[in-house]
Every structure is written in C-alpha cells, then in structure tokens.
C-alpha cells in the first residue's frame, strides 16, 4: 500500500521547507508535494513607504543571497524612475555580484549540498597517501590534499566520530546510505575541501565587503548608483579586491571544479542522480555587465529541452497563481498587479513513515486544497526551471563562446553526454560551471573600471520623484539561484504595489490550476527510494536546486483587508511621506 513520507525540516537550506511524497510498495514516488511553512510578508510592509528605503528592506528577504534582492530592488526603482546609472556604478555592482556568486556557489556545494554526495564517515577509512595521489587525477594543482593535511582532517573528524556525544553537527545523518558513490579516498578529498571552504567563504565575504561595507547585507548601493566612491578611488582597496578575488578563483578552479568532475565520474551511473527531470522548460536573464553593453550571461527561454531554439523572454507572459497556495485570489496575475489575501487552511490528520519505519500520526498536506506559502509562477502558462542550469543551457544554446567552451570541456573530461545535463547531476555541475565563468571573467569588469576611472569618476546619478506622477518599473537579472525579478509601482511618491518573483518560487511552487507541477515536485515523481526512513534521494534532488525559501514566500494580509486600504500612521516616520 502506498505510504506517505515526510521530510520536514529540510535542513541545509535557507528557510523552512517540507517535502511530502507518496511512495508505492516498489519504493517509487507516485506523487510529491512541496510546501513552504513560513510566511513573512515583506511586500505588504513595503506599501506606503519611501522608494529610497525599499532596496535595503527588500535585501532582508534573504541573508544568504544577501546582495541579490538589494540589487534587483534598486534596479526596479531605477527602471521606474528612468534613471541611467553611471558606468562606474554598473561595474562596481558587477564586482560585488561576482563576490556573491563566488561565495554562494561553493558554500552551497560544500556546506549545504555536499554531504548529500560525500559520506563523511567513509572518509575515516581512507588511505591519505592514496587520496593525496588521487587528487592529481582531477587537477594539476590540488588544494588541501597533501598527505599530511588529509591525515589531520581524518584525525580531527575521527575524534568527532569516537565522541560519545556523536558527530556534533554531522550527527544522525544518512551515513552509509547505499546511493553514496565516492570511494573513501574521494570522500576524504571532498571532506578536506569542506573544511577549506569554511575558511574560503570568509574571504569571499570580505571580497564583497570591500565595496559593500559588510556581508551579509552589504550597504553601499543607492537608487542612482553606489556610495563607495572612496573605496574605488583607493588603489589599496582595489588591490585587496584583486588579490582576494584571485584566491577565491583559485579555490573554484582547483577544488570546486575537480570535485564536480569527480562527482560526475562516480555518480553518472547512479539512477537517482541521473533520473531525467520533470520540467524541461528553462528561463534565464542576462547578467554581469563586464564591459559597455557586454554581458557574461544571456537571456532566453528554452521549451521542452529543445536546445536548437532559444526564445526571447516576453515579460508580459510572467504570472503567478495561488490555486494551491495559502492565498485567496487563485487566478493568474501579472506581478505589477499581484494581489495576495490570506487563506490558510493548514494540514489534515493522517499518518506517515516514522524514523523507525513504523507508521506514526502526522499532519499531512491536503493535496486537493492549498498547501504552501509559495505561489506558482508560470511563463505563458508553463512551469519553468530557473537557476544556474537554465543560465548555462541558455548560454550554451545561444552560442555564447565562453559558455560553450566550459560546457564542452566539462563534457569531454567526464565523458557525460550533453543530454545528461538534464538531471540532478547536471544542475549541480551547472552551478559550478557558472561559478567558474564568473571566476574566469569578472576581472574584465575590474580592468574596465580602472580604465574608466582615469577619465570619469561619476558614481551616482541624481533624480527626483514627482509626487504627481505614477511610475512602474522592474529589475530583472540572474542571481545565484536563477532569474530574479522585482516589480514596483510608485504613486504619490510612495510604493503603491511591490512584488518579487524569485528563483525558488519558480522552482518550488505547488501545482497550478491545471495540475501541472513545478520543478521540485515534478522531479521527485518516479524517484526510487531505497530506504523510506532515510530518504537521502529526496534531499539530494531538492538541494540540487539550492532552495532559498525566505525568498520564495509571498505576501498576504492577515485580516483579509484590501491591501490598498492600509492607512499609514504619520507617527511611523518611515512610512510617512
């Protein structure tokens, strides 16, 4: 008889997420439901506020992709007010964005997704000498894999494992699971990189803080440009950026890249990782101005996995609906006109497979009703996958030379066919390829900034907001988790309506009115689970999307009032005009 399996909380992500699947006697997932279990309401809070306050507030959507919302929110307001941002500011924004991509992707692989691929306990039985030699198979300049270094890593974690208190943060995971494929030596190499990456993420964060003041939540963008003019005019700070950038690029090229090659080699025969994905529609947006009118990544839409055709994005075709989301207005809405009224219906009583395999009483998702705080975004009525894989596929199919080269090299080195990119492995590999493209090319922007500063030191455009005029605008671009768009209407000098359609909403959204599933849910269907009490396969698929759930949840009004009825008390200085 079919059984429910619930994974909640899904850890090692940003935010609160539940996956619930129905599994047949053969262990194959028949149906899947993914739910966000937290709502915060920032877009409601934005209403009535001064547009200049909004980018800093929208940045608080997420402390992981901490720069993404700040940048796209700023761009949305600049678009609405028709502001032309100085070239210097555009390039500095690119440099900060490079820092974010070079931070986010390695952290995702090593600290969030990594232990889905790497069995830490198995690393303890590795031969460090053999592992050290093996590292050269994947790169000529391995990092952190000297024999002595690997020995130390092994001893350190070994002590942990002997500890009667267990493995600390590594405790009680699915070690020894049948779908782990690395040899003990490969596990040890990756474990060493896990620890190394903990150090490197601090360097990457500093890279952003050089021009951004701090990370998380940098604070040097304003509507019109950037404020860090002293920093870009300071050669010592510029030098600091360059040196730290190169250190990070070295880690990406000589640890992250080879580890993914290693993963492709070992996992390309693991069915749960190579299972074809459920949604084969992809959308990505251009990003990374590295020179005048020159972007590193391309815009476009690919339908049904057809790489022979890349369509242009038509922004009018973007909608969100709430048929299975805890909001009242079900019909598809364009984000400029998005409404969100609450309709929390909760869970239903039932049972699911418990930790020891017995059925236990649980709260279950009611799949016939509403079941998530995430809406269902659609493009021309279709579910779409966004993310590094979409960006890489769009660039590859568009003939972007830089992208074609890294994809070609990767396929050649691993012997994986291009079709295999449409899988969990492909998604994880594409994230690394995107990080590599940034690491290999973002200093072009750095050099162009230096050249431009010789003749032009402008960093911020001036503007006025006419209280008698209505404005609307959007900021769209590619962020580490995929295509992000912020949509704003301004009226009477304050925010009239605000919507963010974010990557994790595209990927993690529930079913739509036609029963079409979003990428997470569609990907889980057909997955064979070896052990219902240790559903590692589910977690591995979900993690491959790099879920960012605080980003993905949408607005609503708890009292069921019309949103436009909010009257702002003049006492609240931040809200008054």
């Amino acid at each position: 008889m079919a059984k429910r399996v619930i994974v909640d909380p899904i850890t090692r992500i940003e935010g609160h997420l539940r996956a619930e699947v129905i599994v047949g006697d053969d262990g194959v997932v028949q149906d899947a439901f993914v739910s966000s279990t937290l709502w915060r309401g920032l877009e409601v809070i934005a209403k009535g506020r001064d547009p200049r306050n909004i980018p800093l507030m929208m940045q608080r959507i997420c402390g992981v992709c901490t720069y993404s919302h700040y940048l796209k929110s700023t761009m949305a307001i600049e678009d609405a007010l028709d502001i032309k941002v100085p070239y210097n500011a555009e390039l500095v924004r690119t440099l900060m964005n490079a820092a974010l991509f070079m931070h986010d992707h390695p952290v995702h692989f090593y600290h969030l997704h990594g232990v889905d691929w790497v069995d830490i306990v198995s690393a303890l039985s590795a031969d460090p000498a053999k592992a050290s030699k093996l590292a050269f198979k994947y790169t000529n300049n391995p990092i952190g894999t000297g024999e002595n270094e690997l020995k130390k890593v092994q001893e350190k974690i070994g002590k942990f494992a002997k500890n009667p208190q267990g493995l600390g943060p590594f405790a009680n995971a699915y070690w020894g699971h049948g779908t782990y494929r690395f040899t003990p030596e490969q596990n040890l190499i990756a474990l060493s990189h896990y620890l190394k990456a903990l150090e490197m993420q601090r360097t990457a964060a500093q890279l952003m803080a050089i021009f951004g003041a701090k990370q998380p939540h940098p604070q040097s963008l304003v509507v019109g440009g950037v404020t860090c003019v002293m920093d870009i005019l300071n050669p010592a700070k510029m030098g600091e950026y360059m040196v730290k950038f190169q250190a990070m690029a070295d880690f990406i090229n000589n640890a992250y890249y080879p580890d993914i090659i290693m993963a492709a080699e070992m996992y390309k025969t693991e069915p749960s990782v190579m299972k074809p994905m459920g949604v084969k529609n992809f959308m990505a947006h251009e990003e990374f101005i590295i020179g005048r009118n020159e972007h590193l990544f391309n815009s476009g839409v690919i339908m049904n996995g057809d790489l022979s055709k890349v369509l242009e994005i038509d922004e009018d075709m973007i909608t969100e609906e709430a048929t299975h989301s805890w909001y009242k207005d079900d019909a598809p809405q364009h984000p400029y006109d998005g409404t969100t009224n609450p309709n929390y219906t909760g869970y239903v009583d039932g049972s699911s497979v418990g930790p020891d395999g017995k059925m236990v009483d649980s709260k279950l998702i009611n799949q016939n009703e509403k079941y998530s705080w995430i809406k269902s975004p659609r493009y021309n009525g279709n579910p779409m996958e966004v993310g590094p894989l979409a960006s890489i596929l769009v660039g590859y199919a568009s003939g972007n030379k830089k992208v074609v080269k890294v994809v070609g090299d990767f396929l050649a080195q691993t012997g994986v066919p291009a079709a295999a990119l449409f899988s969990t492995l492909g998604r994880t590999a594409a994230r690394m390829l995107q990080a590599k493209l940034v690491a290999d090319n973002a200093l072009i922007a750095f050099n162009n900034l230096i050249e431009n500063l010789k003749v032009d030191q402008e960093t911020c455009a001036t503007y006025t907001i006419d209280k008698n005029k209505e404005y609307k605008g959007r900021g769209i671009g590619e962020v580490p988790r995929g295509m992000l768009s912020h949509w704003v209407r301004i009226k009477n000098g304050v925010i009239e309506n605000y919507q963010a359609v974010v990557p994790s909403t595209w990927n993690a959204g529930p079913m739509d009115s036609k029963g079409a599933k979003g990428p997470y849910e569609a990907d889980l269907i057909g997955l064979k689970i070896a052990d219902l009490t240790q559903p590692l396969e589910i977690i591995r698929i979900i993690h491959s999307y790099d879920p960012c759930i605080a980003c993905a949840v949408h607005v609503m009004d708890t009292k069921g009032k019309t949103l436009s009825e909010y009257k702002l008390d003049p006492l609240y200085a931040g809200c008054s005009v």
């Binding site: 920032l42 600390g168 009680n172 803080a209 003041a213």
Partner: protein, 383 residues
C-alpha cells in the same frame, strides 16, 4: 580594587566550570589550536583582543583564554524562526583567523538547521534529545522574529506541524541562557515593521525567561561570539542597557567613535551621494546617517574581520540595532534632524533616556550643523 574583586569572581566562576564534566575529554580548544598549527602566542593574542573588546582590563586576558578553552562544555541549540539566515551567515564569518571558527567547532553544536547534516525526523530527534540530555545546561540562540498569537501558524516545523512559537517557548524553558541573535528575535525585526502582517514579535515576548538581545541586521560576528564568551566568563547575564543589549557591545553610539566624526564637528557634509564631499570622506549625516541615534560598536569593530563598515563605504548607518528602526528612523537617505525621535510607544520608548540624550546632543549641534552646512556649500571646490 574593584578589578581585583571582579578578577576573583571570574576566577572562581571558571573553577566552578572546570569542575563540570567535559562533554568530550578528547577535545579542547588548546589541543585543537596545536593541531591547526596555531601557536599559543597567537591564541593569547586573540584572547587579548577579545579581552579589550569585552572592556575588561588587559590583566584579564588569561581568564578569557581559559574561558575560550572551556567553550566546548557548552551545548548550543540554535533555532530559526521568521528570518533570512543572515545571522547564521554572520556567525559563519566569525572574525580573525580560523580561531573563532575553532570556537564555533568546539561548542557542542546540537542543532542548527543551516549547518547540520541530519534532516526530517532525524533532525527533530537531535533537537529533542539535546533539550532532554542537557536540560538546564544548554545555551539557546534564536534567529528570527516569532509569528505570534492567533497567527503563529505562519511558521510550522516538523511532521507534526508544530508552530515556531511553541518550539521556541519549549526550548526557552530549560535553557541555561537565552540569546536573541539579531534584530528580528530581539525586537521583531523587518517582518514586524508596520503593519506587521504576521504579528511577528520578539523572543522576549513569548517566554518568561530572561533574554539577552544581540541586535543588528545582522549583528557582527564579533558581537555574537563575544556575547557567548561573556556568558562563559560571568555565568550570569552581562550588564545590559534598557533594551537588554550587552553594554560592552551596545554601550556607545556609532557616532561617538565614528571615523568621520571630525568632519561632523567641522561641519563638512556630503550633500548628495557621489559629490566631492563623498569623495573626500565628509560626514554622512545629511544623507541620512543614523549613527547619532544608534548604539552599537560597528565604528570600532567593523565587519568581516575589520574589512569595512557602512560609513566607510560612504553609506551611513541605518540604525539596524535599534528597536523598530524601519518605522522609527525615517527615510534612510534623509536626516532625522532634531525632530523628536519617535518610538512605537509614542516617544516614550523603553530607552527614553538614551533617546533624549541622542536628540539632545543633536539639538545642541543643530545650530552648528546649519552654520557649517552653509559654509560647506560655499567652500565647495570649483568644478
């Protein structure tokens, strides 16, 4: 003499702690330091820096070092409520070499959703067993505001659909100390800004236990780690201000130690972003800096191992460690001026004294600001 008494008190506290059973005999900070290739000298250098950050006399350095070595005795439970994970990210950046990350490793981290390997039932089990095994002994750190009251269902966790409020309340019940990390758990944060659609609230509003607030959006890595050390040293709550913030970190205004303070006093102001004043590091007050109203040590500690901080990057402080700053601090890029600094309590916030002092000082300088502003305009270099 006062120092001597304090020294003795701390020493006996540490003796007391050292008599507690270790969580693990195999590991100690100093041993790990050796393994990581750090010298004792480097470690003591770090302890010295920490001592001065905690505003203790330099003679206390050995005690701080001892406290750090005993950090592994403390089981830590970290909960995520309505949040953005920025505070966890800040913790991961912990300052100076990897020494702070050792402390992070060597606290017995029992539950932390962003970092832990376990998921689902196994994750829930880790939390429950830590709360049971270390009843009355674990440190609780909470990140995020808490959807509260009839709307607590805005956050549920686990197969039983438990609300965040319930989980936070239960975890608070038997914690040895409770730290609200970040402005969200300290004061409700961004989701609690008007009109607070989820009725998000501070951790202190859902538990009767004492809560130490470590606000900031996010707080710097040194404020998070420093607060923890303070607890280990004293075994009691640190001296707090009216908002339950540790005085050692939040005792001074940003403005008091600001690198651009001289520009403020000289009446040299950035008039708009990108102007000549901005290129020359003039004061950011007129483009909205809230440093004069904000209590935090950013101007001393900075962020990301001292890399920078908002004023250095030309932006100005937004007041993120103050309660309800999204609503109270006005427009980010306009000065508050000498207008009454409102709180949600009608100008009588729980730190009214500090508010009045802040406003008072600005009122005194307001005349100067006006005069200097005129001067700085006149003095504006030719294009």
């Amino acid at each position: 003499m006062e120092n001597k008494a304090l020294f003795e008190k701390l020493s006996s506290r540490l003796d007391e702690l050292s008599n507690l059973p270790k969580l693990d005999d195999e590991k100690s900070i100093s041993r790990l330091i050796e393994e990581k290739g750090f010298s004792r000298r480097e470690f003591m250098g770090w302890a010295g820096a920490m001592t001065s950050m905690l505003m203790l006399p330099a003679s206390f350095t050995p005690l701080v070092a001892k406290a750090a070595e005993m950090a592994d005795r403390l089981p830590l439970v970290w909960l995520h409520m309505a949040e953005c994970t920025g505070c966890s990210e800040s913790l991961l950046r912990t300052a100076t070499p990897s020494i702070d990350s050792l402390i992070f490793d060597y606290i017995s981290l029992e539950y932390h959703e962003t970092i832990m390997s376990a998921a689902g039932w196994q994750a829930e089990h880790n939390l429950e067993s830590a709360m049971e095994r270390y009843k009355g002994k674990y440190i609780l750190m909470v990140e995020g505001g808490i959807p509260h009251g009839e709307s607590d269902f805005y956050l549920t966790i686990g197969a039983h659909g438990k609300t965040g409020e319930k989980i936070a309340r239960e975890a608070s019940e038997n914690a040895a100390a409770i730290f609200a990390i970040g402005t969200c758990s300290s004061f409700g944060g961004v989701q609690a800004a008007y009109p607070n659609p989820t009725n998000a609230t501070a951790l202190s509003n859902i538990t009767n236990k004492s809560v130490i607030n470590v606000p900031g959006c996010p707080p710097s890595e040194s404020n998070i780690v420093g607060t923890l050390l303070h607890f280990i040293l004293y075994g009691t709550l640190p001296a707090l201000d009216a908002y339950n913030r540790p005085k050692w970190a939040y005792g001074l205004r940003i403005h008091d130690a600001c690198e651009r303070r001289g520009r403020f006093d000289a009446g040299e102001f950035v008039e708009q972003f990108g102007d000549d004043g901005a290129k020359n590091g003039y004061c950011l007050y007129k483009v909205g800096c809230k440093g004069p109203y904000t209590f935090n040590n950013c101007s001393k500690q900075r962020f990301n191992q001292g890399t920078s901080w908002p004023v250095q990057a030309g932006h100005g402080c937004m007041g993120c460690s103050e309660p309800d700053f999204w609503d109270k601090m006005g427009i980010v890029h306009e000065p508050l001026g000498n207008r009454l600094y409102h709180t949600v309590f009608g100008g009588l916030g729980s730190d009214a004294t500090a508010d009045k002092i802040g406003v008072g000082i600005l009122t005194v300088t307001a005349v100067g600001i006006a005069a200097h502003a005129a001067i700085s305009l006149i003095k504006k270099p030719k294009e």
